[in-house]
């Protein structure tokens, strides 16, 4: 896949948020960069500032933390989604999260400087403010649901809900990643699955 094709995918996706005129798009594309990650390479590393706001043209990533030497997966992103250690990107402070490619992954990135330049560029400023607002609002809504799930649901209920809504995650991620994503251990998820399945068999 070449850069032109990647840009078409990017533009199509961005139209969920904003629509660019030809002039705006040309200016916009001057501010993005193309990168590729091989499997297991990192997009972001704990204790460093995540300087990029990425879009996954293809591939997937997982977000994880190292807690007492143990690898704890907290989230996933797939092709045609954004990826970033958002707080780190916005506040220019070190992140606590690793973001790692799970397969060969193609990205289009906006650096922090490029983002600021576009916000200061008369051609793009208004649209970039709106873009930033709508993207932040979108992820805010996702987070609101996710926090509510930790407050109001048991691990088993969270897993049952994932069964209904998490097609990509369930089909593409190993179970021990999913367990940590749900806030439990892999052994515990295995037991929950057994609890859920057995009554059906009886």
């Amino acid at each position: 896949m070449d850069a032109a094709t990647a840009l078409i995918i990017y533009k199509t996706y961005l139209e969920r948020y904003v629509t660019f005129s030809t002039e705006e798009w040309e200016t916009f594309t001057q501010h993005v960069t193309f990168t590729k990650l091989k499997k297991k390479q990192h997009f972001a590393t704990a204790d460093t500032v995540c300087d990029k706001f990425g879009f996954l043209v293809s591939g997937s990533v997982r977000y994880y933390h190292i807690i007492n030497g143990e690898d704890i997966t907290s989230y996933f992103s797939f092709e045609q989604e954004f990826t970033s250690s958002y707080k780190s990107f916005l506040t220019r402070t070190p992140t606590i999260t690793y973001i790692q490619a799970l397969e060969e992954t193609r990205l289009i990135n906006i650096s922090y400087d490029a983002f600021q330049k576009m916000l200061a560029n008369p051609i793009l400023a208004h649209k970039m403010e709106r873009f930033g607002r709508l993207v932040a609002e979108h992820y805010l809504c996702c987070y609101e649901d996710r926090v509510a799930s930790f407050i109001t649901q048991s691990p088993e209920e969270r897993y049952l809900q994932l069964l209904q809504t998490g097609r990509d995650i369930l089909q593409r991620m190993p179970q021990h990643y999913i367990a940590h994503f749900l806030g439990i251990t892999p052994v515990s998820l295995s037991r929950i699955r057994k609890r859920i399945m057995e009554p059906v068999v009886k």
Copy 2:
């Protein structure tokens, strides 16, 4: 306290995000409304659309869910903070959260329509996009930390962290609200407190 004083407090707070010119501020203030909630009155109700994005001039609110008939507190907001069932406000879908005043509470509200009108008003559009972006980004950062705390920390660790950072909550909220906010039962929090305190006494 009169509306003029409330507006001064509001404007001062908003300057964390954007600064309004005199003309902008005059237009802005035409789009806000003033309300008061008595203790236990609701700012938002589950199964209805939350139509307002509020600012607490004074007072405080708690966010809660009714789960199997039980009242589960999930969050708090205090004077000089915003309050809203944000996803419901943005997407115009029914919320699952009640927001209730914990004391006599004074608010300045932006309705969804007023927000849209300001976004469409040439005088305010750019500043409102920016305002919306920065507010959403701010809360996004808070949510990122909160989700990480559920993934990477035990209930005891979350409580210990709250002891370091949650002055307002600890001093002003009853312990059973705090327990649910941490994702555990009040009985469990009482035990955690005992576990933490005892070694100090010995």
